[in-house]
Symmetry: C2
Subunit: 752 residues, 2 copies
């Protein structure tokens, strides 16, 4: 049914559904739909005349649809999903994980999603030898083992955790091999730590580097150890960083230093497609290590630490294993350490599962909700808490379309990604395959990997999405009764109080590289929100990547049996999606980019350059900052005019439904403004890092950093001998930001 | 006024204007517009009821609007424009050319275009020393000059050609310098020619290479000479290639081997923007030569050729100067040759002039008509025949909107580019600045640089645009009375007969790199049509880049005083624009890409690979051809389904104007299918060559070649010592085509 004009003024573009106009059309047409008595699935006819509704009613109807949708999300169903998804360990590329994919396909189909199917890629994965665990042993001078780790963690809840091989301790992409030698304790394995070792006169060359988890990506630690000449690497979970972790538990994980299939950079690893890189080239490029690496429990770590020779470590390097940590090299009494890792690289099929609720007005605009489903073991937190919630969001949304007249105006896509744990492979290959369509059609990507606590919402997003992240949080009831009792009725209330940020908003970091949103933002330029629940301290979550992540933990340690927190996450996800799918003008505020650019980024950049020793080779770079500042000011003015235009188009919309074309034009501009910050050639040396503002630093692959390529160039300048050339590189990188800002200004204009 | 449904079925998407529906709305609303009595500028009211028109009437109305537009184009006005534009020599970057830009701005404004303004860039240009002409001299053993060229051609029509310095003989981007030495005759200066010289035992090292124009780009000749060790280069117009050229005439031109400003590759040379390359780097990269080069007349060439020593040249190297051509090296009697070139590189402002007729339905979709305005001297053929016609097309279009109810549905943009002659600088910088907006909004770019003859239409375009190029040509009356007398009533009739091609269509080449369409197609992926009039032989046009291109030539040698041919060009241009602006579904046939891919490109590629000596290192490449073939077959099926869908949307359009959104979606898909063939990283070593099907070969910069990067890789393979690596490069380039084809298939689908 086409729109009819109902003569109602809308004041604001955001958070008002033009789907609502349709609901009105139905009302005015004499069919009163029991929109809000959700769960009954009935429609009641009403022949009576209905007066033109007041403006407030639109908001009411919308609020009621939102409430209907939220009520439709059931904790019990999430719990069922979670149990179905975590029956067995399911690493990417295994038969078990294929079974999980099938389970998700069934869930999506049963939920009523349309076009449910899988997208398959052939990617390079890594496995241990399941029958021969990896070990670390200690040998005496006679060469006899005085200690050998079991290499397998024992379950605590055998009913949930007792599958064969579930306890296997390993790191994906470790080189296979056995190395016997001396251990050096390298603290967290950061460049700073290795520099300190050097200062302390300890050489890691030919040694085994023993490092704690924490402070950065484990792959960087192993790579750093290898770069310093280490022949093997051991990673352990120091109790200082490992809340709840049993003495035998280990953190598994990938140590590949790249997102996506390493053999098919920039292009999708479609079955049969050419692989432009060989495994040897991947190793030469240090994307995967050439040395064996394995994770050990702190029980095993104790065996080494308690025997380690050399001087005591610097004070802040001491951890919580109950011995005095020493630097090494080597154990006392001439004992040696043996690291024995069995592993193989294998090309395997991985399968993303997708399904849709097609948009009724704009089928070809997508709001995408995603989470991965592969896990290191059972994955009941990471990631299947999210998988279970997402499937329930899908079911609740379809149910709401059945029980009300509501249909999303734009398409909502549900995506369960495979092989995230190995390096975001499933989502990265997807983004590489569909980068053009995403650039052209994706409104936003909403990622929830897993929660890492249960106290407060935590949101990582880009400036243009902050408003919608906040507005929606204000609509979601708080799952914590004790917080509600303190007057904090919504997720927003606890969030704003726990993580206060600037301008009276909660603090929202720029998304980093740690989950499936990364490709969407950094390669395709799609606005993303990556959110979860965390504790007030923002630590890594307890039991991370361990055997012990099974449903018991969700049900009794993180959440209550009613899954109130799981539901709250689902509600936030669903309401974000509905808002982005239904708002006539996208609730994406490009003015915020301009404000950040002029108000913060340029200011910080100038400060950074001014802190460097004055040098004529920096003049060009400084000139480019001035030039960028002027461009940012222009962009700000233009974006303010555009916002005015968008409001105008939005206001006219109801009186003249023909203006859908104009609305589409406005939204196209919003999308394309975001895409201006994609440099199609990527940052120097990292063509996959294409977002010039919010890509991942080549010097620090874990965290999100603004204008990473510029700051990397500044770092390089500081260390360069050829300051002239290095200074030019800084200027060039700043000029690339300038061109993006200028592109954004041009995008908001009507003509060239 | 919004659309109203008039219940008329449209059978075909192409060439039917949905603007027409509006014209009907006016008719049905009781206002009968004297649509077709053009030139009267009146509207007549008619209160009478008008019956629902028959289907045919839509076509009739459309035909009549087309005729009205064509009639509005006046030969006399083109002639006036041409005189105004060619008053003085106007090289890019000179005050005289700024005056021409102002003249165009005034013409566009007077024509009634909107938002007329200039877009300015700062680019690296090159000039001679106007007060000290470049010369070539011959010295005897005593060092005394026995001949010195004047370095300035004398005018034939002093009234039109008598400006100071007009006759100056020079090549842009020549290095300055004086070199005395021996001449070697290197025929056309192609790699083949230099190989032949080597075979003949003639070493060019330390010599002056003397080469004829013809067979490729002059910049390649000079670069080739430099690469073979020549210290200076002389180019002459052999009478064999130079119809009508007076003995003293020379062909000027640029010898830069790159499109766009060489100091700001890939980014626009906005005033103040960072220049990422230095002049030294440009020379090191051999983008501009390090040796002096100059053009000489055949009168001067005679002085050298008649004294040249050595053996006679191979038979096919002999030209039409009336002496026996000899190879050299050196002149008889110990005479030497001195090349003396004065030149300087200067960064200058250049100014593109743009103006618009805003689209009434889709203001943010652009059909762009372009031609450059800078010239080597007066430029009355190249390029101002085109400039004069384009300004008249603008005037006639605006006039038609005033005298009828017609308004283009989409925006029509008129562009006069600066600094084309130096290397497409104005248009390339424009494309670099607006590449994102062009990718998102440009329907097509229609280029006419200048005519090169007067007999037949000649069209260079890509497969998807062939149909519209033909359909429009069938509507344009033939300007040649003698052809009309032979029954060839339209431009199409003469064209199809003169240049018959495949499938009963006229032969249309892929556009090469020689004019301003290049950046649109190869960098931005915008479909282009580059057309002109030529003689049946397709030779370079008489008097090309000479002093003698002044209006007399247009009026009396190429065309008749009524400018019938100039008008015919304008009519074709205008009707192409109107068709692309008004057709509800873009008349861009993406199915043709799929047909060419599977039917021709894959077949040719396989043949080429099979002709190479069998080698296991080619296996991967051959597998990729199979893979590509399958992808092409899928693309074909999908594009046929899409065409069906597009027809359906088009047919429904009139009954349900709400479906404008769907129409926009269909057209978005057509645009984005074309854009799939843009590889954002460009071809290896040439990031500006981004179109994977229709970019310019790095091995042959003048002509358009299909899948240039693939064939370049095959060439490299043939010459490679590391066949394994080279074979992988071939496979990789083929896989990039595969990914583009797959992207096209995905673009035509509704979901991922």
């Amino acid at each position: 049914m086409p729109y009819v004009g109902v003569g109602i003024q809308q004041r604001s573009a955001s958070l008002r559904s033009h789907r609502m106009i349709r609901a009105y059309a139905a009302l005015l047409g004499g069919v009163l739909v029991s929109l809000f008595i959700v769960g009954m699935g009935k429609m009641q006819a009403d022949a009576g005349g209905v007066p033109i509704p007041r403006k407030e009613s639109i908001e009411e109807i919308q609020d009621q649809i939102g409430r209907a949708l939220m009520e439709a999300i059931e904790g019990e169903k999430i719990k069922e999903n979670l149990r179905a998804l975590t029956k067995e360990p399911h690493q990417a590329g295994t038969k078990a994980n294929e079974r999980v994919a099938k389970t998700i396909e069934k869930m999506y189909t049963a939920a009523g999603l349309q076009k449910v199917h899988t997208l398959t890629y052939d990617v390079l994965l890594s496995y241990p030898d399941w029958d021969r665990p990896n070990t670390v042993s200690i040998r005496n001078r006679a060469g006899r083992a005085v200690f050998t780790s079991r290499g397998v963690s024992a379950p605590i809840l055998p009913d949930e955790q007792g599958a064969p091989h579930a306890g296997h301790q390993w790191l994906a992409y470790s080189a296979p091999g056995t190395f016997e030698g001396d251990v050096v304790y390298a603290h967290s394995g950061t460049p700073k730590d290795f520099a300190m070792l050097k200062k302390l006169g300890i050489d890691v060359t030919g040694k085994i580097a023993m490092m704690r988890y924490g402070e950065g990506f484990r792959g960087d630690k192993v790579a750093e150890a290898q770069a310093h000449g280490a022949r093997a690497a051991i990673l352990f979970s120091d109790p200082a960083e490992s809340v709840w972790m049993p003495p035998e538990g280990v953190q598994r994980g990938s140590i590949m230093k790249l997102n996506g299939d390493p053999l098919t950079p920039l292009y999708p690893a479609k079955p049969g497609a050419y692989k432009s890189r060989t495994v040897d080239e991947v190793k030469e490029a240090r994307i995967i290590p050439s040395i064996p690496a394995l994770p050990i429990s702190y029980e095993t770590a104790y065996e080494i630490l308690s025997r380690l020779g050399g001087r005591p470590v610097p004070g802040e390097w001491q951890g919580n294993v109950n011995v005095t940590y020493r630097l090494g090299p080597g154990l006392r009494d001439g004992h040696t350490t043996v690291v024995d890792v069995k592993s193989s690289l294998e090309t395997k099929h991985v399968h993303n599962v997708v399904g849709y609720i097609p948009g009724q007005d704009e089928e070809d605009r997508y709001v995408i909700l995603g989470n991965h489903f592969d896990a290191w073991v059972y994955g009941s937190i990471d990631p299947n808490s999210g998988t279970a919630i997402l499937a329930e969001v899908a079911r609740a949304m379809v149910e709401t379309t059945k029980n009300t007249t509501w249909r999303p105006a734009r398409s909502i896509m549900f995506a369960a990604w495979d092989a995230e744990e190995y390096g975001l492979l499933g989502s990265t290959e997807f983004v590489e395959e569909f980068v053009q369509q995403l650039g052209d059609r994706a409104v936003a990507y909403l990622n929830m990997d897993c929660f890492a606590g249960n106290f407060s919402l935590d949101v990582r997003t880009i400036p243009s999405m902050r408003d919608v992240a906040i507005d929606v949080a204000k609509r979601i009831p708080n799952h914590l009764e004790e917080q509600v009792a303190l007057g904090r009725k919504t997720l927003y209330d606890t969030w704003a109080r726990t993580f206060p940020g600037q301008n009276g908003q909660p603090d929202m970091k720029i998304p980093g590289g740690g989950s499936d949103h990364a490709g969407f933002l950094t390669f395709a330029g799609v606005p993303v929100i990556d959110f979860n629940m965390i504790n007030a301290t923002r630590n890594s979550y307890p039991l991370y990547h361990s055997l012990f992540e099974t449903p018991f933990v969700n049900e009794h340690l993180y959440d209550k049996p009613d899954f109130a927190m799981h539901r709250a996450i689902g509600r936030y996800w669903a309401e974000l999606a509905r808002t982005l799918a239904d708002s006539p003008v996208f609730p994406i505020n490009v003015t915020k980019i301009a404000e950040e650019m002029g108000g913060n980024y340029v200011v910080e950049l100038r400060k950074t350059l001014n802190q460097l020793p004055a040098n004529p080779n920096l003049l060009e770079a400084k000139q480019q900052v001035d030039f960028l500042e002027k461009a940012a000011a222009k962009f700000l003015v233009r974006s303010q005019h555009f916002a005015e235009h968008a409001r105008h188009v939005n206001a006219e919309l109801q009186n003249n439904p023909y203006d859908q074309r104009k609305l589409r034009g406005v939204n196209e501009r919003i999308m394309m403004t975001e895409r201006c910050f994609v440099n199609p050639r990527g940052s120097p040396g990292a063509p996959q890092n294409r977002h010039v503002l919010y890509s991942i630093s080549e010097h620090d692959s874990y965290s999100g950093k603004v204008m990473a390529a510029v700051y990397d160039a500044i770092d390089d300048y500081a260390n360069a001998t050829d300051k002239k050339k290095a200074g030019r590189k800084v200027a060039e990188q700043i000029s690339i930001i300038y061109h993006s800002v200028h592109c954004a200004t041009n995008t908001l204009k009507h003509f060239f």
